[in-house]
Subunit: 403 residues, 2 copies
Amino acid sequence: VQQANRSHPNLLVGQSGGPTAVINSSLVGVVDAAVAAGVRGVYGMRGGIQGALEGNLIDLGAQSPAVLASLRQTPAAALGSCRYKLRPDDPERVIDICRRHGVGYFVYIGGNDSADTSHRIAQAARDSDYDLRVVGVPKTIDNDLPITDHCPGYGSIARFLAFATRDAGLDTESMRRVDPIKLIEVQGRNAGWIAAATALGKRDDRDAPHVIYVPERRVDLDTVLVDVETIYRRIGFCVVVVSETLRDVSGQPLGSDEADVDSFGHRRVAGAAQFLAERITHHLGVRARFDKPGTIARMSMAMASPVDLAEAYQVGRAAVTALVREESDKMVTLVREQDTPYTCTTGLAPLTDIANSEKLLPDAFLSADGRMISDSFRAYANPLIGEPVPGAMRLADIPVHRG
Amino acid sequence: VQQANRSHPNLLVGQSGGPTAVINSSLVGVVDAAVAAGVRGVYGMRGGIQGALEGNLIDLGAQSPAVLASLRQTPAAALGSCRYKLRPDDPERVIDICRRHGVGYFVYIGGNDSADTSHRIAQAARDSDYDLRVVGVPKTIDNDLPITDHCPGYGSIARFLAFATRDAGLDTESMRRVDPIKLIEVQGRNAGWIAAATALGKRDDRDAPHVIYVPERRVDLDTVLVDVETIYRRIGFCVVVVSETLRDVSGQPLGSDEADVDSFGHRRVAGAAQFLAERITHHLGVRARFDKPGTIARMSMAMASPVDLAEAYQVGRAAVTALVREESDKMVTLVREQDTPYTCTTGLAPLTDIANSEKLLPDAFLSADGRMISDSFRAYANPLIGEPVPGAMRLADIPVHRG
């Protein structure tokens, strides 16, 4: 253990919640900046705060530059993650661990729940008069943190799904004589950010997706059947994007009887696409298929957004800069300066303003009927995926021979 | 319509069955070679043989080089596809259409069923004494055509899933405190070629996938539960690859009550991963998740294998070369010359030897227990994905700090 005193605090960093393609870039940003700032002991929590409470720490400052460079090309949380809600005596125990290891800087990379965890640890430090500065680093594919313009991790899942949905349109049009209806089920918890991103490659009415159902707008089965039938009758095929947490008008998850709840009380739901595929097949008399890329969409390094990778690293570095400047109980935010050309810098927000709060898709980012994205959403999200989705030749673009 | 005589036949080309990322490359190979050979009329079937029977033809020779170049970057079947089993009088009707358009060259890009279609048209031409030469171009993600070393389309889905499974291992290890079991359901009809490809990035016992269930080997639920529990107890997480058509020891599809049959009598099955996820969750008392990338894996242009793209174009060209040499009732095959460095050329095989036959994964390509790939499969499949799956940092590779 590196000995430390108040003028040379060690640093403890952890990763929490669902992994992304770029969360290790944030970790390396923290380590690089800490080493550059002269921090002697840089420790990683093996398995998030839950692992730290078990005494599972890794010496990150001792890792070679080659290992750190390789980590930036490695998706998912290399330190191991957790979804762990602190028990009443846990914050005090974390302070004890920090004291034992001379830790004066605490960085936690995560989403809303992790911000709550970090805030409680900052509080416990104040209560026990221990000099611990705490800064959160934003991370979530769901893009649902308040204040920050967007969240590292989102740009990469957005890029994966924008490309995949473009391709799904071509695939479904190809097979419209066989399987003319395709549903794609995507993540996003209570927010439609991920679902909205699937439309970033859409150029016109014929391109996929043809309709998007986001959790912000409740929808009943009959509406879906009418929407899909109308599109199918018009163009001969239909690609539908469905958030996995879609709710019907009574607020019940569409197509799910299960009430599976995680330790934070968030209901886990699956099955909207499968349920709708079965009903659409029955209603239209043609086969509807569904794809559920699931976690594959969130952790594809080959499809990661270069902008997202760079920003994830940047917010990691910014956390250390803030700590050295004696900031605490804050989260790093991304602050957009302009859309074209896209520039973004970092800021800070109180952890209490982030914790246990969520930013839903604003009405202005959806079309009037709520089932397609708006131009303002395109302007917001296009820079985040790093490059536009390339256009493609469609069957309809090739003139029919009149022989 | 381009007039044609026996010395200047026109060409008719179609795409059939499930699309791939590279089937348009085969189409462009046919068009390029036909134009180069002086064929004046190059027609495309809009919607496969079913579209041709409806009179839906496209003038492909008239397309600009820019359109053809764009098509090679466009996944799925740009002409539109079908799954259509010829009715008794259809071959005769196809001959009439060919006669009307001066078509002497017939190219059909597809799998086993398409080979049967092509063969029946070749037969009908002989029976009606019409000079039509027929050559098939291989295409199937399932890689289950006999004689040919492999099938265009396979290398690209193999690349997608090899990368995705590597990432799934990292993601699942990250989240082993929350969701330690991951199932990935993949395609392949009766053959395990696609399932096997998911292991191409696996370096050792800790890398995903940890076990693969292929349709060639029947398996009962208890065996799966024991396998998964053993792996989970040893390393703390487990990634399982399941073919969607996995059968139990009685020959019934695992987790499916449906008997959904397409027009060729192939049973359509879905649900093995979801079924197993539920049973594993119940058995182990930890949460098992499943991803079902479905058609997204078969048509990702961004993840397409460069080798596959090039070979798809090559087999398209080879079909025209064979036609001009007066070959007929044949399918182009890929003939591997050597593994290292990988070289491959083309050959021809009788359509009757391809039609309605399927090549299953040989025993030598699986480990002794049938649940992992062998080194000989790696030697076979690695060249097809175009580049090795990069290694990644794993939690287990980073030494724990002893504080």
